[in-house]
Symmetry: C2
């Protein structure tokens, strides 16, 4: 009962006593088909459970209903939410999404970007592993591409990102305003444009507070080691983690060392995660507007797929800065700024 031999448009046509062309016209709601035939075809389609083969239909019509999404890592809830939002939008416009995750690996990203071409997607949305995207993009990429979150080295693509510098500056100013005298900023590596922008933003707004950067790398073990050194050997009064994974390991390390926040040191994070609102005290963060980024990315891609050929465009979205207990001086006031 589950398996049947394949039913094609011809089967439907025969059964309804019409030509395949008519069936096609009915299914694509072309005008000038007699109401009676529409009815008859519809019935047969329902009866047989027929649904047109997208491959054949794409092949002939040249109309693509597939868009590709490349993210560094789907198990990161931030990217999961991003894809999830994107999917809803895409479906509304009649697109399906081919999702690939690059497992945070530049080499895999290259391979996936190449392989995805064979599906001839109408467009691509990419959150690259790092800034060197264009080195990894096959030279022939005939579809529009929108890059999200991380600045590509090559200003050849549309970009949707957040105002990294301003947001980091807000945190920095807040810490300085609370009276902390020294702050260490920890991030994966300055070669990622994101991280660089955040660091520069933070540095620019430190005021009288001594501020320094430590690059912890991308691998768990290395991150843990560098943070351990930082927290034991020259502990600052405040620690500002520039990405989620660094923040997570920093918090773990602090807990392991028996350091409490904000008593022993203030703690803030770029990238907000669920747990940051759950721990006590809750953690001061910069919340990135993921849904808005997805929406903006889809809108932009939509326009490009529709033929829009305006010059490449960069869009910066605002983050919200959530000041919470982890950075407040005892008796300090609580505020929320953007």
């Amino acid at each position: 009962m589950k398996r049947r031999q394949p039913v094609s448009i011809k089967t439907v046509a025969e059964r309804a006593g019409v030509s395949p062309a008519t069936v096609s016209n009915v299914l694509n709601a072309k005008p000038s088909v007699a109401p009676e035939l529409i009815e008859r075809v519809r019935n047969v389609v329902a009866e047989l459970g027929y649904i047109a083969d997208n491959h054949a239909s794409r092949l002939r019509s040249g109309k693509h209903s597939l868009a590709g999404v490349v993210v560094p890592d789907l198990s990161n809830p931030m990217f999961g939410t991003f894809v999830s939002t994107l999917e809803t939008l895409a479906r509304q416009d009649g697109f399906d999404l081919l999702v690939v995750s690059a497992a945070n690996d530049v080499e895999q990203e290259r391979e996936r970007l190449n392989a995805i071409r064979s599906w001839r997607p109408a467009g691509l949305i990419v959150i690259p592993c790092d800034g060197a995207l264009s080195h990894r993009t096959p030279s022939i990429m005939p579809m529009p591409i929108v890059v999200v979150d991380r600045l590509p080295d090559d200003p050849d693509y549309d970009l949707i990102a957040v105002n990294n510098a301003q947001s980091a500056a807000a945190i920095s100013a807040h810490l300085s305003g609370q009276g902390y005298r020294s702050c260490t900023v920890a991030g994966s590596t300055l070669s990622i444009s994101n991280v660089r922008e955040r660091w520069e933003g933070a540095a620019s707004a430190a005021g009288g507070m001594a501020i320094s950067m430590v690059e912890v790398g991308l691998e768990t073990d290395g991150i843990r080691r560098r943070l351990y050194e930082t927290l034991t050997q020259r502990r600052p009064e405040a620690l500002f983690a520039l990405d989620h994974i660094t923040a997570l390991i920093a918090y773990q390390t602090m807990t392991d060392l028996g350091l409490s926040t904000p008593g022993d040191l203030a703690f803030a994070s770029f990238d907000e995660a669920e747990w940051m609102r759950l721990v006590r005290p809750a953690i001061t963060t910069v919340r990135q507007p993921i849904e808005e980024m997805a929406t903006a990315a889809w809108q932009q891609l939509s326009q490009r797929m529709g033929g829009n050929a305006d010059p490449v465009r960069t869009m910066r979205l605002a983050c919200s800065v959530e000041i919470r207990g982890s950075t407040l001086r005892e008796g300090g006031r609580s505020d929320t700024a953007a």
Copy 2:
């Protein structure tokens, strides 16, 4: 430089001075092509950046290199990890993944399951929204389907799940063993087979501990209200949340009410999330082996796609039970059981 007119196998053939058939033979590594021609074709392919169109190739050869994945909600990190693992496995076998998320909505799930047929995927892996999957599956689904995590009402599909009952029983026994006299089990709804199995397992191993079930539903507001009532009106000595979202809201509510764990009440959760290891004390959980589930699901689907027609099969994987501070009596011992 980015855009070029489409290059097809004919373009390659002409440029290499051979027939399209030969190009095809080279690309698909068919035997009996002269080494010299192979070389020549390869060069042209590289030069033009040609890559075969999957749609056309599927259409003619009937060989599908696409598999579908349907999950309730990609922004849930558990499902994100699941898809991510699946993707790696699929790529190793030369498959691409068409990912759709149903936004936890039964109606959307139905619609997506129907729409995905038009891509003629070679197989489907589905984590259904609830147990009534077969009511939502179009009658004609000619490809193999593997259901994961939630028992379908209809034993017509292969199933990969975890030993819900035993794992919940282990938690229940642990709580009872710690000397708690009453326990409330909170879960979305017993109409989800998962939840039912967990509740029954917990109930069966309560020993002398009074145990009762409260169904909190699926919507945030409702969950919050029911949990608030539970915690204020007839607070038990222990609370066992049966799914991640219930656990999250329960923990928030406890924090809001100023209740501490395990002092005011013990707290445990099925489904482990990152934050449960970060809060202090850390939370006792049942950790589901997501990666193993994904691996098992892909293996099973792989076999089915390879033509295996054995009777439908159900596979139960073991969870690990992580006993942590949130359920330990003061001075109690810490243990880890499976």
